[in-house]
Symmetry: C2
Subunit: 276 residues, 2 copies
């Protein structure tokens, strides 16, 4: 496919695009563009520029940290280029490194915004429990071979369900804007609708769904549940840790490599207007 001209017709109407992306975070310094480091946002902006000649900064549903992976990150941006949906998808996958794949490219209503419109996100965290982690798996798991009481971890996970102030699980972070839902909630109160541990052969998996997550929140939850698993913290102490509203009350931050942004949910499209 030939690239579109470098001076696009600004007379073309702006259209709003929604992409769903998967990426291997091990190859990037996180989502957010940085001057000299490889980032997902930076690589995506560059690919869009090469294809359309337009300079845009795709907005993600949230920033993922260096090393965090995505199965279904969502990005949005506006383009003049009158390119068909399937063409933009294929052109992006040809330009982008193989560590980023565009799974879907859609033209959406102009009021859609990947971050502001998000109503729920799901993350998963993978822990490898075997003796020696296969080199083909090591990039995508936290390899942890010590004994864990998985029942206690499962019990602890239920204590974060519902609406809570998650200050204890938020990074002590001067970057206020880093929380992925700062636009939705200017405080540290979030609602968690799913929080559970599952196990499968050599893998322990934590799955959490909520209306938003603070910076490092999932990794701090996992680090704290692992303290429960090794017997250092009783499951019921999660309620006290939440009540403390202090980062020092919770456990350590689990490594980025085990974390996947699985999916982002948006309101269903409004029903088509019925003509009178």
């Amino acid at each position: 496919m030939k690239d579109l001209p470098q001076n696009p017709e600004a007379s073309q109407p702006l259209r709003n695009w929604k992409l769903i992306l998967a990426y291997d975070g091990a190859d990037f310094r996180g989502w957010q563009v940085q001057p000299t480091q490889p980032t997902i946002q930076g690589e995506l902006a560059e690919a869009i520029h090469q294809i359309t000649g337009e300079h845009v900064l795709p907005q993600g549903s949230g920033r993922t940290d260096a090393g965090v992976h995505a199965l279904g990150q969502v990005a949005s941006f506006m383009l003049h280029a009158p390119i068909p949906e399937a063409n933009l998808l294929h052109a992006l996958n040809r330009k982008l490194s193989e560590s980023i794949r565009v799974l879907s490219a859609q033209i959406v209503p102009t009021d859609f915004h990947a971050r502001h419109s998000a109503i729920e996100k799901t993350y998963e965290y993978r822990i490898f429990r075997g003796e020696d982690c296969p080199p083909f798996v090591a990039r995508y798991v936290f390899a942890l071979n010590w004994p864990l009481n998985v029942e206690a971890m499962a019990a602890a996970a239920t204590h974060v369900l519902g609406e809570h102030d998650f200050t204890s699980f938020a990074a002590n972070d001067p970057e206020v804007g880093h929380n992925d839902t700062e636009a939705v909630e200017p405080n540290n109160i979030r609602t968690i609708s799913e929080s559970r541990w599952m196990s499968n052969n050599d893998t322990l998996l934590y799955r959490v769904t909520g209306n938003g997550f603070l910076h490092h929140m999932v990794r701090n939850l996992v680090g704290t549940f692992l303290d429960v698993g090794r017997g250092a913290t009783p499951p019921a102490a999660i309620a006290e840790i939440l009540a403390a509203r202090s980062r020092s009350a919770a456990g350590p931050t689990a490594p980025a490599r085990g974390l996947f942004l699985v999916s982002v949910r948006y309101p269903d499209p409004p029903p088509a207007r019925v003509l009178p």
Copy 2:
């Protein structure tokens, strides 16, 4: 675990070690040690030195090229250090990067040599056939979305079974010593006992077992079978390509990333001598 002293007791008897290794070849410039590049042999030698204080160059069953992976590469070397088998295994896995895992460490008879003693090797080559290759799979497959006649490829694969001169499938390579069985066979004749294509969901897999392989031989076989799959070469032409004994008769070299050294077979240990 504390490292052993840097000046080992040379009075300890030399013992011969056999390691089985898995590695993610994407992170290395191949097996063979190079002055300033990361290699599997180089990293392994450095880890052994840090643990035992001894300088050895582990011998692989063969060199794997940059980007080629291993599920069961075998290496051998001699050490004075009186370290127990399980301790060397665990110490190596702590020192080595996570891209290399030692699956087994065994003290073996002194006449064992990873390359000279090998009697058979198995390789697999993976092709991803789906529309967009997931970023978590891309390092380990050749992603190839064009139509392929898999039946024709399967028929072609049977033509290399048995003993043949594989000159047409060997790299035009001044490095004579690069062939992995140069010690066994000083020519280009090799015997192939298994050569077949399998498919499974989005993956096409070529599996080949033989008494030895020339440099690039598996990748050149795969590239030629792919020419058959896209209709450029009839399956029966494989016999003519073998007979031509010319690299230019065969197809292109398939990319390294899809290739895995699966296992290396050695003679069964000799039966214990029965005392009279």
